[in-house]
Amino acid sequence: MTGLASLTTVFPGLVWAMAALALVQASRRAALWRLGTAASVAWLDGLAKLPRRYLVDVHHVVARDAYASRMHAVVAGGLLAASVLTALAILPPLGGFRPYWVLVAAAFGVTAAGSLLVGARRYPEKQKRLSAGRFQILPVLLVAYAVGGTVTALLLAFGGADGLLAPLALALAAAGGLGLAFEVRHGPMRHAAAGALHLVAHPRPGRFEGRPDTALQALDLDAPRLGSEVPADFAWNRLLSYDACVSCGRCEVACPAFAAGQPLNPKRLIQDLVAGFSPSEPAYAGAPYPGGRAAEGARGPLARLIGPDARIHPDTLWSCTTCRACVEECPMMIEHVDAVVALRRHQTLERGSLPEKAVGPVTDLRQTGDPGGRPLAARTDFAAGLDLPPISVRGEAAVLLWLGEGAYDLRYGRTLRALVRLLREAGVDFAVLGPEERDTGDLARRLGDEATFQALARANVATLARYRFERIVTADPHALHTLRNEYPAFGGCYTVVHHTALLLDLIRAGRLKPGRLPDLSVTYHDPCYLARYNGETEAPRAVLDAIGVNRAEMTRSGRRAMCCGGGGGAPVSDVPGERRIPDLRMAQAAETDAGIVAVACPSCTAMLEGVPDRKAEIRDIAELLLQAVEAGR
């Protein structure tokens, strides 16, 4: 009976030892996070909301891969339940109660089943997007802990703890369990510890409140150092968030630059940031940067991250289209785009090392308020022959139409003319800023030139303050995002509406009476800055449905749509790849057999229309609606 008594102490003791080891390993890791700069964190609020953030928001993302979701529920639920139940058995009444061990054995059994599900993703051959390395031993450790735990608990439940089997089973459980706890520092189990803490101290808590918290945070231009050059320049909770990465590779599957063979892999980027502040990090074992080089360069909290000779090549940094597909897909809620922009800010503001081809547009933005260096008065040239009143005449209008950079483009001028004619048709009282409209500065901001962005933002806010209007309507989702979400930090709070939303309102109010165009087959391409950045996916589809076109969806649509390649300054950075992003997107559109790809953004129009040999026409929602309205007369 002594054997049984000791085993009821030693087995729970093992779990307590695991917890202690995990705590030690996590605190060694925490010492690295503390290298980061200070950040204000609402601790109590975050802690209180942790269960909800995990069970609702994280689960929402994880569940997109049904297998991974089930696997995770079984293995993580089983592991937690079995470990907590075993740890509680340190209390003699529980440890001596045999039916309790039946319950423990059941929990370990569930864990074992989950471990096999984990193993099935990696053996005999791992799924392509997963990382190898230390992740490959995870199922082995899990199986050892779960099987050892099951056998030990069964022996405790049904007797036989004196036999030879008990020490063997306990040793197996100890090997697996302590191995798992040890892996909290460098291995796969880190995602559990860092991930939970990351959910508490998330730098964008608004994400969990159901609003799109996607605006870039304004940079203090008087700070001693601008942007992030070394890992220690990131806020500590950002470093923590990179440690939460579980290397699942969902980001690389979603990344348009990765798909195009440009040297960017979001997973690798995050892992390079981790390796940057953790000098003893094991080697990366996932997919590399396409066409990129092997990792090199110094490590450490004060080692430069970006450079031809550093860990991250500048081409990697400038390949990002800021489409947020990686952020959308990340089950650990990591903010990749924020990291990219922080690194770009340092490159641009402190080193002046923009990509060569981006220097011209950014310089023109700074000097003329337009990335093409064109006269601001020429913005309304597209509307020759149309009645386009400048707001300066009356000083007020119900709707201020923000034209954006697309107005200079001949092709996009067609869209804007269609929109202006629709607004006239519906009797909307609208006006434009005309020569007073400067660029919103979106391009400069995504390329890291925060100084130019802030100057343009302040100038535009001052201009808008002089006029009275109820809302701003724009056909450019980039301008929409900047005006709606990023200008409030500079004192400009406006109601900003995308033209598709306004057109839908006008149809529903009966002010536009479109006919039906049932002969057209259309697929709608969601702009990143409308769908992912602002969560607006329904209005454009509702307009298409109102005009009765035959609508098909691409495999990737809505918030999970693929980028056209036109955002984040990627077209002006023009990092070479093996393929072009818009070509890939048009190939996806071709799978729907639609004759028309409907767009709602000047960048998407330009990128997709520039695809050679495309079978489908590119038409803006406004153009299609105008055609329907004219057909309905």
Partner: protein, 261 residues
């Protein structure tokens, strides 16, 4: 090597905003590859050239002058004190109160030679010498080796300027030149000023009404005036002078010789 860059208060050709002229930004890049460089501006406001601090220049000397004063004496005084090996300037002004004559006037006053339209600069093999590559237009280049100090103007074909870095601009220093610089009134230009008028470009001998390809061939190819020149290698000076005069008469710059009766 010490390089001084003359900075002027330019205006953007489209927006009219006060900007650093493009050529001077390119001059900074040329100088950055050579050695220690400093900017020099003479005018009422230093803020107008502060943009240069973000484009690779760490230090600007500013000689404060009244609005209408002539900057050349002040620049010459500052340059004499700085004693640079190379003075770089833009080849023309860009919309502001500045003018492309200034580098010539400064060189004249200091007695320095002036090499126009350079696109590259490198130290020569001998100490104190410089290799300056001039652009002659249409891709032609000429390397000049010269002993400094020398004034050189920068051609737009020079390498593009550095990107503007706000952080560097914050750290740059504008230092006022101490010591009173007596303001000189602006010189009355010895030339007649007229408003600019576009003149049609005439391509002589271009066959009217023919295709674009034929006109191009006539202008540049074997058939046109470009092919009618004669190549003289080390000609006798008299013969060379006669040839030049004949050419100038042919294209109508000089009147035909008076009939020697």
């Amino acid at each position: 090597m010490k390089i001084a860059i003359l900075l002027s208060a330019g205006r953007h050709p489209v927006s009219g905003a006060a900007v650093l002229p493009r050529l001077e930004a390119q001059a900074i890049r040329l100088a950055a590859g050579l050695g220690q460089h400093i900017g020099l501006h003479a005018g009422p406001e230093a803020a107008v050239v502060a943009e240069a601090l973000g484009q690779g220049l760490a230090h600007i000397q500013h000689a404060a002058l009244p609005e209408e004063a002539d900057p050349v004496p002040a620049l010459a005084t500052c340059l004499a004190a700085l004693a640079p090996d190379l003075v770089l300037a833009g080849r023309r002004g860009q919309g502001g109160a500045e003018t492309g004559i200034v580098p010539y006037a400064v060189a004249d006053r200091l007695g320095y030679p002036l090499i126009p339209d350079i696109i590259a600069a490198a130290p020569g093999e001998e100490a104190g010498t410089l290799h300056l590559d001039q652009s002659l237009g249409r891709g032609a280049r000429r390397r000049v080796t010269i002993r400094g100090p020398v004034v050189a103007t920068v051609h737009p074909d020079a390498p593009a300027s550095f990107a503007y870095a706000y952080g560097q601009a914050r750290r740059g220093v504008i230092e006022p030149v101490v010591g009173a610089l007596a303001p000189h009134p602006a010189p009355v230009p010895a030339v007649e000023e007229r408003p600019y008028r576009r003149r049609p470009k005439l391509v002589k001998g271009a066959p009217a009404g023919s295709s674009a390809a034929e006109r191009l061939k006539a202008a540049t190819g074997e058939a046109g005036p470009a092919s009618s020149g004669r190549l003289l290698v080390r000609p006798d000076p008299d013969e060379a002078a006669r040839e030049i005069l004949a050419h100038l008469r042919r294209i109508g710059v000089l009147a035909a010789p008076r009939d020697p009766r």
